[in-house]
Amino acid sequence: MKALILVGGYGTRLRPLTLNVPKPLVEFGNKPIMLHQVEALVEAGVRTVILAVSYMSDALEKEMQIHAKRLGIEIIFSQENEPLGTAGPLALARKHLAGPECNEPFFVLNSDVISDYPFAKLLEFHKEHGKEGTICVAKVEEPSKYGVVVYDKSSGLIHKFVEKPQEFVSNKINAGMYIFNPSMLNRIEERPMSIEREVFPYMANEHELCCMELQDFWMDIGQPKDFLKGMCMYLTSLRQRSPEKLLKGSNIIGNVLIDPSVKIGENCKIGPNVVLGPDVVIEDGVRIQRCTVMRKATIKSHSWLESCIIGWESRVGKWARLENVTVLGQDVNVKDEIYLNGVRILPHKSISTSVPEPQIIM
C-alpha cells in the first residue's frame, strides 16, 4: 500500500524550534514527528511513503532514508516547484500513488497531526462502505479553530463542511487523515488546489465521502501550545498501551517519559507530563512539569519549569523560573535566577534579564 504525507514548508508556527530542524524531524515524545506517522503506516501495511515537500532539506532526506532502510520500505520525495495547496501535491505525485498495476486505496496525512493512527481500522471501514474516500474526524473542544464536518451518524456519509462557524454546528472536525481510491485523483489538477474547498465538497455532494470518528487521542501539534497539549495526550495514551515505557520513582509524579541516558539529580520533583530527551541533565532540586526537554539540554539546580519546550543543547540556570509556553530554540543560555513568562527565544541567545510578560526575544 501507499501513503502520501503533506509535509509542506518551513513550519513557521513551530519556530524557534524549526529554525534549526525541519519540522518533520522535531522530536515529539522523543521520536521525530514524522517517524510516529511512518511507523504507524508501516504497521497498517504501507510499503511506499511519498513525502510532499515544498523545499528539499538534506537533513530530512538523509534521516528518512536511514529509517526507510530500517523499516524495509521505499520513501520518495515529491517536491513542488510552486505552492500547490493541500490537494495539488497529490496530482504531482500521481504516478507514485496509482497506475495500471496499482488499484489499491492510498492514505493521505497532514504532517502535523498526532494520534493513535488507527489506519488498519480506517482501511477496513473504507472497504466496507465502498465509497471513493474516507476522512477521519476528531472531537475537539474548540471546533471553530479548524473547520467543522456535518455528517450522518449511522452511515458516516458527509453532508457538508463549515469553515469557522459563527454558531455552534458540531464539535467534529477534519482530522487531516484520509484514505482515497485512486479514482479520486481524477478530481485533482496539478495546480494550487485546496482539498477542503475544491475536492471534498464535490465528493460529499456525490455521496462519495464518508468519515470515521477517531476514538482515541488526536492533536494538531503545529504550534507550541498545542504541541504541549498533544504531549500530555500522547503520554496518557502511552500509560494505557505501554506503561512500562514510563518512568517510575519517588520523585516522579504522573506520566514521565525519559531517554535512558538522562541524568536526574537529588530532591527533584518531575512531572506530571514531562518528556526528557537523550543526554538531558536535570540537576538537584528541580521542579518540572508539562514540559518537553530536547536532546543534550541542561536544567540547573532549584529551577522551576511549567509548560515549556527547551530546545536542543540549551541551558537553564539555577533558580530560574520558566512558564506559560516558554520556548527556547537550540543552544539558548538562560542565566541564574531569571524569570521567563511566555517567552520565545531564538537560537544561540544568552538571556541575562528576566522577561516577565510574553515576548519574542531575537
Binding site: N267, G285, S301, H302, W304, K318, W319, E337, Y339
Partner: protein
Amino acid sequence: MNLKAVILVGGPQKGTRFRPLSLDLPKPLFPIAGFPLVHHHIEACCRLKEVTEILLIGFFQPNDALRRFIQRERQEFGKSIIYLQEYTMLGTAGCIYHFRDVITNGSPDAFFLMFSDAFCDFPLQEMIQFKEKFMPYLIMTVEVPKEQSLHYGCAGINLTTSEVVHYTEKPDTFVSCDINAGIYLLNIDIFENIGVLFQNKHRPSLSDTSMEEVMLHVSHQNVYKPESTMGRISLESEVLPRLAGSGKLFAFRMDRFWLNIKSAGSALYANQAILELYKSSHPERLSDLPGCKGNVYIHPTAEVDDSAVLGPNVTVGAGVVIGQGARVKNSMILDGALVKAHSCILNSIIGWHCVVGEWTRVEGTPTEIDPNAPHATTDNFYLFDEQGRLRPSITILGRDVTIPAEVVIRNSIIMPSKELGRGFKNQILL
C-alpha cells in the same frame, strides 16, 4: 567639650510610607543590617567620649518593645539614654524647645540633633572638629541631583567660609543642590532663638513681625487655624531661614553615602550601605559561611541550610529558617520567617514569621540609584505614578503572611496576616 545627643524618632502618624512594615513595629526599631534603625544613631553618638547623654524624643507610647530597646542600649553602652514622649505636635523646633530643661541639664556646651530618618556613616567626630568654637550652629548637608533637591531643604552655601547664606525648605523651583541632611550640632543658645519665635507666636507685636505672623495672629483671633497648629515651630521652615545669612549658621558638607529612610525601598538600600560599612566597623557581623556571596548578616539563632546561597546584601533575622537550596539576594528576612527549599527571594522584605513555600519566587524591583549623579539618593516616590499605575517597587510581605509553594509574587505589597492561595504581580493586597 560636653555634649548631648537628641534624636527625633517621630510617631505612629509619621512614617506612613513605611507601612506595612511600620504597622507592627515603630519605624525607629525596624532592623537595618540586623540592628534597630535608631541603634545605629545611638551607637555613633556613644562612640564619642564627649557625649554624656542621649535623649530620644517621639510620639510613640512607650510600649514594651521601645522600653526594652532603650534598656538594652543603656546596658550595652553604659550611658544615660532617656525616651521623652511628646503629647502634642510642637514642630521640630517646638519639641526640643519644650524639652530644653532636660537637654540643658548638666550644662552641655552643645548638642547633636538628629532625625532618625537621616541615615549615613555618621561623621560626628568630624563635625565636632569642624565646628570648633566659632560656628554656633552647624548643619550637615549633602549634595543631590537638581531634580531631587526640590523634595528637601535647600541651603545656599558660601564655599569659602562654609556659611549658610540662604535656606529654603522644599522649594518649588531649583535653589541649590546642597540639602539639609537632618543632622545638626547646635550650641545651646539655640533655645534663645527659638524662644523669640515662640514669644512672637503667642504675643505678636506688629513692629517686628512678618506678614505671615500677622495673618497668624489674625486667624488666631478669628479661630481659622485649628488649635493643634498653634505653638508649632518648625526648625526647617521657621528657624533656619532666619539664621541663614546671619553669620551664625554653617554647613558641614558630607560626601559619603546618605539617605532619608522613608520607604521600604530606601530601608533596603540602607541595609546594603551599612552591611558594606561593617567590613571596617564590625567585620565580625558579616557571615563567612561558604554559601554566602558578598555582605551577609545572619543572626546567631537563624538556621541556614548548607546548600542555600545568600547574598549579596542580605540580612537574616533571629530564628529564621532557610531551607535546602534556597536563594536570597538583596533582601531582608525578618525574625521567625520560614523560607522553604529551592525558593528564590530577590529584592524583597520578608516580614516577621512569614512562610515562603517551596520553589516559590518572591521578587521586587530595587529602587534605582542614578550611578552617574554625585551622591544621588533614593527617590522616596509615592506608590503610584501620575497615570495612577502602581510603580514597580520592592516586594514586601507584612508580618505573618503565608505564600504557597511554586508561585510567583512580583512587585507586590502584602498586608500582614494574609494567607495567599496563588501568585500575584504588581498589586497591593490589603
